[in-house]
Each structure stands twice: as structure tokens, then as C-alpha cells.
């Protein structure tokens, strides 16, 4: 919120400002700011439905009306521009009384079915009525009933709960620019609908209408009756489904990701995210996990073999790797990594490879045929690269191999007779002969794989949802994600495991013990990331100072 004040921009000269008084407090905002945003900048939320930052303002919900001294009537704060010397009262008697009246009208036909409504707990109608509404409704008329309508896709419409803010209609018109939603009928009978049975099938961004719906009228079928909103923990994260790097929140409960929601970042995704990314979260909840570090060739075949813990496993790995390298039998290291590994993971992997005498780091990444651009926010698209950190991998020296389905390309690795390291790639297309000839085969992953049969060490790693770290998106923006889930068993982040191995191999005393240390160390030794710091990434990320052409471009 404070970003909107010129002080935060650090650019006072260029921005013309106006100073007004809101509820007795002086506020200075850039010229052109609305009263609603100005009030928000000093922490006063004026209730509103139809206004949304990413959309136009029709000023039709009549809920953000405030008193402006000198104006004959209440003014809609969402479209009233702040003026010098304006005196605004958001909590004046007149404003409060009128908002209470408007809210009472909103409830005339509202079913008040909060106990079975998905939006309950994050519902603006609930909040505003609780704060400013009447204790009891006075309407004795029967309520009109619409029931619910399946809009297709993931969207379900409960007409009775709708407050007719038309945010969804404007989203489809202005942002997705596939104007399928409209207000049908008029007055009391108005209802949001599509062209008869057309529905929202075939749209790619319609999940956003569920997010921007201020009440429970548009709800997600995927999330329907699944969890209560107040039970969910929200963890800032980055969408792993393509290289756009949309800012998201992981909504978790019971150590499971329950849904993904977009998080505002005007540099990357605005307020939006695509349906493709939104509905790809189940993989974070997979129960088939590696939980204990195991060493000894063929160890994956006998998962019952007792784990001796991380210290023994890593000592074993380091000893074997060192003896191979010293005896000159290691050859070049061949490493395969997942493009969903964090920058810290990749950095640690590269460090291990270098410590073992150098080699090749490759990754395989699925690519879609087309970008799906959000027309009203053209810097946002579902990108062709269907993984979060392909750009980071390239910057850190990895090479893309294989085809557009993320298969193939590993012939040289599969039969390599030196050291083979796999990080995160599940090798679904590889048989159990993968790595049979390897002198040392380390498999670091979250899930068991047939191709790990001949691994000398199977080391369980966390998924991106279970660790902190950074991804580099298609623009070269390094963005942080945070830990939303507890890792099972002894699974550890790959940067911790490989960082310890690298430190041991290169004879350093200390290894990074936090993602912050890992990132800062990585930035210190990598040209592309030079100058970046963990703290400097902030909430909007920071751009790397050199870019590389991405594979296939």
C-alpha cells in the first residue's frame, strides 16, 4: 500500500502530488489517485465490491460512498479523484448510515447460507455486514431464488449469493477479452450468465473470476466443500507450472496443498494466474515419497534396508566420490537435473560437479506448442516452457536436452561409466538399466523411480513446496518462494545435501545451512546473479544482470 505514496517511489520531483485529509489524517498521494486508494494508503479500507484494481470502475455497487466536504451528496470513492485540500470522511454518520442501507438491500435476496458457502471466511459481504450492517434484516418478503448454474470449466455460479458487482463480466471483457459473461435480465431478476449453454469451457483464465468474486457467487468446483477458508495457511510461493513465474499463494491444510491462488505482483502477473497453473498442484501432495537416505548399490530395490542416517550416507558418498576422482576413474561427471529445482539446488549441483573435476549438467523440460497470452495483460502468458526454472538452469550452466515432452536425450548419461548424478528428474522414460555402468550413481529425488534401481545412493529431497528458495523466470526475474508443507521423513532440500557434499569435497569448513546463505553464496560466485542478495529480492523479485537465450528460442 505504501508503494503508492511518492515517498516510497523516491521520485518526488517527477510525480505531482495532492494533499487531502481523510478521517482527520493528512494524506499525500500522486495526482490522479482515487480517494479509495488514498484511504487505503493510510490503512482505511472503504467497503467496495465493483472496484477492483485490475479492472475498470463502473461505480455501481454504491458501497464506497464517502462524505466529501463541499459536495452536495456522498461521492463514490472508487472514481473520485483526490484533490488538494479535500476533506473526506469515510466514517461520517451519513456515510455509515447509507452504507448500512445499501448492505441491507444486498441482503434482501441473499440466502445467508454462510454455513455451507465456500466463500465464508473470505467473503466481503460477510465482512462488511459484520462491520457496518444492521443486526437484523427487516424484509418480510419471500426471497427470489435462482439456484446454481454450472458455467463449465472449473466455475460454478450461485445466483442467489451474487451482489451484481459485474467484476467477472468486466474481467472476461477487459482482461481475458473473451466476453462470454453478461448480465441477463434486469432489476431484481438480474443474473450473471453466458450465452445460454455456451459456458466458460475453452477459456484459459476464467479461474480468476472465482478469485475476484467478492462473495460466494462464483466458486471453484475443484475446491467445492473441500476446506473452510479460515483453516487454510497461506504461503507466498511461485507457480511451478511454466516459466512465467506467477506469484501465488499455496493454501495448505493437513500438510496438503488445497488450492493455489494468485498473489499480486504487477511486474510479473498482475492479479492473475492461468487455469493451467491453478489446477496443477496435486503433484505437491503425492504420497509416494522417498523418506530415508539409502546407500549401497541396488539400494532402491530393497527399500527395507535400514537407513543409517544422513551423516553416514553422505560420508559414504563423499568417500566414494573422492576415491574415484583421486584415482582418475571418475571421468567427466554427467548430471541430470529437473528444471523445477531451485537456483540454490542447481548451484549446489554445479558446485559438486566442479569439485569432482567438471562435467555436463543437463535438464529436460516439457514445452507447449503455443503461448497462451492474457490479452488484457499481455506481459502475462502461460509460457511455452512448462517448468519454473529453465532460465535459472541456463544461467547456471545447464543445457537442455530431450524433446518437448521432457523425454529422451539421456543416451550418453544412461551408459556413462563415470559419475552420474540425478537431481529431481524422475526419469520416467528410462528403464531400470539406467546408470548400470556408472562408477558412482547418485539419485536425489522426492519420488521413487525405476531408473534409480542401480543407484549407489538414494537421497530423499524436498519438493519446492517443502523448501525455501528462488526461481528465475522467463524475464530473468529471481523470485523467492517459501516453505508451505512439512517434508516427510528425513527428506532435505537438495541445496543442503549437495552443499554439504560440495563443502566436504572442496575441503571447506562450512556449508550453507539456510536457503539465504545458499543463495548469497551462489550470487557471490555466479556472474549472472552478481549483485543480487536474498534480502534484496523483496516481494517483487529482482532482475538478473545478464540473460541467456533459452533453449529452442
Amino acid at each position: 500500500m505504501s508503494q503508492s505514496t511518492p515517498q516510497a517511489n523516491g521520485n518526488d520531483a517527477a510525480v505531482e502530488t495532492v494533499t487531502l485529509t481523510i478521517d482527520g489524517r493528512e494524506v499525500t498521494v500522486p495526482k490522479g489517485t482515487t480517494v479509495l486508494k488514498a484511504a487505503e494508503s493510510v490503512g482505511t479500507e472503504v467497503p467496495h465490491y465493483c472496484f477492483h484494481e485490475g479492472l475498470s470502475s463502473p461505480a455501481m455497487c454504491r458501497l464506497c460512498l464517502v462524505e466529501v466536504e463541499g459536495a452536495p451528496k456522498l461521492q463514490p470513492s472508487c472514481v473520485t479523484q483526490a484533490q488538494d485540500g479535500q476533506v473526506v470522511r469515510t466514517q461520517g454518520d451519513q456515510a455509515l448510515r447509507q452504507r448500512r442501507g445499501v448492505l441491507e438491500f444486498y441482503l434482501v435476496n441473499h440466502p445467508l447460507d454462510c454455513p455451507i458457502c465456500d466463500q465464508s471466511g473470505e467473503c466481503h459481504l460477510q465482512d462488511y455486514v459484520h462491520e457496518e450492517g444492521r443486526d437484523h434484516g427487516r424484509s418480510r418478503e419471500p426471497k427470489r431464488v435462482f439456484g446454481r448454474d454450472d458455467f463449465g470449466g472449473d466455475v460454478l455460479f450461485y445466483g442467489d449469493r451474487c451482489v451484481m458487482c459485474t467484476r467477472c463480466v468486466r474481467f472476461m471483457n477487459e482482461v481475458e477479452q473473451d466476453p462470454r459473461l453478461t448480465v441477463v435480465e434486469r432489476g431484481n431478476r438480474s443474473v450473471i450468465d453466458t450465452f445460454f449453454e455456451e459456458g466458460l469451457d475453452g477459456t484459459h483464465w476464467s479461474g480468476n473470476v472465482v478469485d475476484i468474486c467478492p462473495v460466494g457467487a462464483l466458486v471453484s468446483k475443484d475446491f467445492l466443500y473441500k476446506q473452510r477458508a479460515w483453516d487454510l495457511d497461506h504461503t507466498p510461493s511461485i507457480c511451478p507450472s511454466c516459466s512465467q513465474g506467477c506469484n501465488i499463494s499455496l493454501h495448505t491444510r493437513d500438510n496438503l496443498v488445497q488450492r493455489l491462488k494468485p498473489r499480486k505482483n504487477l511486474d510479473v502477473n498482475g492479479h492473475w494466474m492461468c487455469d493451467h497453473g491453478r489446477h496443477r498442484y496435486e503433484f505437491m501432495n503425492r504420497p509416494d515419497r522417498l523418506t530415508e537416505p539409502l546407500t549401497g548399490r541396488g539400494t532402491a530395490r530393497t527399500p527395507s534396508s535400514a537407513s543409517r542416517g544422513w551423516r553416514a550416507a553422505l560420508t559414504d558418498v563423499v568417500d566414494r566420490a573422492r576415491s574415484l576422482a583421486e584415482g582418475g576413474r571418475g571421468g567427466r561427471v554427467m548430471a541430470v537435473m529437473s528444471p523445477n529445482a531451485s537456483n540454490e539446488d542447481i548451484g549446489a549441483l554445479v558446485e559438486v560437479v566442479d569439485a569432482l573435476g567438471g562435467g555436463d549438467v543437463v535438464y529436460r523440460m516439457a514445452r507447449a506448442d503455443d503461448e497462451i497470452v492474457l490479452k488484457g495483460y499481455p506481459s502475462l502468458a502461460r509460457r511455452r516452457d512448462l517448468a519454473a526454472n529453465g532460465h535459472g538452469a541456463e544461467l547456471l550452466g545447464a543445457t537442455r536436452v530431450g524433446d518437448d515432452d521432457a523425454t529422451g536425450g539421456l543416451e550418453a548419461v544412461a551408459d556413462h561409466d563415470g559419475i552420474v548424478i540425478v537431481l529431481g528428474d524422475e526419469l520416467d522414460d528410462q528403464g531400470e538399466d539406467f546408470g548400470r555402468a556408472a562408477a558412482l550413481y547418485l539419485y536425489l529425488g522426492a519420488h521413487p523411480s525405476e531408473a534409480a534401481t542401480h543407484a549407489d545412493a538414494v537421497l530423499p529431497t524436498t519438493t519446492f513446496a517443502e523448501q525455501e528458495g528462488t526461481f528465475t523466470n522467463i524475464q530473468g526475474r529471481v523470485q523467492r518462494f517459501r516453505q508451505g508443507l512439512r517434508a516427510p521423513g528425513s527428506a532435505r532440500p537438495a541445496w543442503l545435501i549437495l552443499g554439504a557434499v560440495a563443502a566436504e569435497l572442496s575441503g571447506r569448513e562450512t556449508a550453507p545451512t539456510s536457503a539465504e546463505e545458499a543463495f548469497d553464496a551462489l550470487a557471490g560466485r555466479t556472474n549472472a546473479l552478481a549483485g543480487l542478495t536474498w534480502d534484496g529480492l523483496g516481494s517483487r523479485g529482482a532482475l538478473v544482470n545478464e540473460t541467456v537465450p533459452l533453449a529452442g528460442d
Binding site: 462470454r180 459473461l181 453478461t182 453466458t194 450465452f195 445460454f196
Partner: protein, 217 residues
Amino acid sequence: MSDLRVRNPGWAGNTGEFDLTEEQVRGDDFVGTRPVEGGHPAATPSYAYMRAERDPEAPLFEGPYAERFEKLLTRYPEKRAALLPTLALAQEVRGHVSPETMARVAELLDLPDAYVRGVTSFYTMYNKREVGRFLIQVCTNISCNLCGADDVLEAFLSTTDTELGEISKDGDFTVVEAECLAACGFPTCVQINSRYYENVTPADVPNILDRLKERGE
């Protein structure tokens, strides 16, 4: 003529702009089916304009209707603005505005289907379902209601033997309720196609219906 002048003091006389007499405008000259070419603009409000060929499958638009549609487009700076008259023209041809009609109009005017549906459903004068030859709209808003509009409505329904919105068996009548027709001084007001019947009582209803069938307005 002179009688008419007394009865209709609002007649401004022949302005010279149109070569029309009051008889032509006020009288029965233009009552009936609207001519396919659209008729004289000054007489447009007098037409029972919904009563053209009424073929729900008729093409949009061809022949004289295509000409009228082209003319409509020239009246507005953008195609979208021609939506209301185009829908009216479509209703004149097809009798009502079906989903297929909306889609066709959307196609003609390069508009989203959903937008056309939203506009059509907003206005009550577009029939979203098929109606009889005579659409009888009985005002049941406050003035008329106080003066017995409910009884008039009941009389229309029982005499035509229909439910609200239903087409009578002979295909002639559909009775619906209307909100205020702006004739509160003459309750109960009934609009049949585009003509007003004022001060209607239940006793008038059979006469009105007989006269309609007879004259086939």
C-alpha cells in the same frame, strides 16, 4: 376532419415536412401490418410493428428487410449502436427473439453473443418466447391495480382460455402482465400490440377480443 381536430387537440397540423393529414396519422390508415419496406417514419409509432410475416425461421435479413437493415447501420457511428433497432427488426421478421436470432444479430453486428443476450433480456418489448398474433399486456402496476387490473387480467385469461404468457389455441392471443404503461390517468390500461386500450373493465374484455379477431388488426 373538424371533429377529429376537436378530439385530438395535440395535432400540430401539416407542417409541410410530410404530406400527411391528421386522418392519415390518427386514423386507421397506418393501423395493421407494417409495410415491409418500413413505412413512413412519421407513422412508425402507429404500426403494430411486431406483426409482420412472423416466420420464426425467416432469414435475417433479405429483400426489403435487408435494405432496412443497411439503412439502420448508416444511422449510427458504430455497429454496436444499431443493436436495439436491429433486434426490433429481427422481431418484426420472426415474431420473437430466440437464442438463434440473438446469435445471428450478434454475427451481423460483430458483437459477442453474450452481450446481445444481455441487451435483449434487459428490455421487455423483445419477446423472448413466441407470442400469439395479439400480445395483450395488462398493466398491473399501482394505479391500474387499485382500479381492478387483477380482475381485467383474470377476464383476459379466462376469455382467451390461457395461462400467463401462453399462446391461445387459435394462435391469436398471448396475455402477459406489464409494469406501468404510463397511462395512470386511465386505469386499467391494456396495450395490445402497439395500441393502448384505456379504462378497460372486465366487461369490455369479450368485446375487445371479438373486435380484434374481426378486424384482424
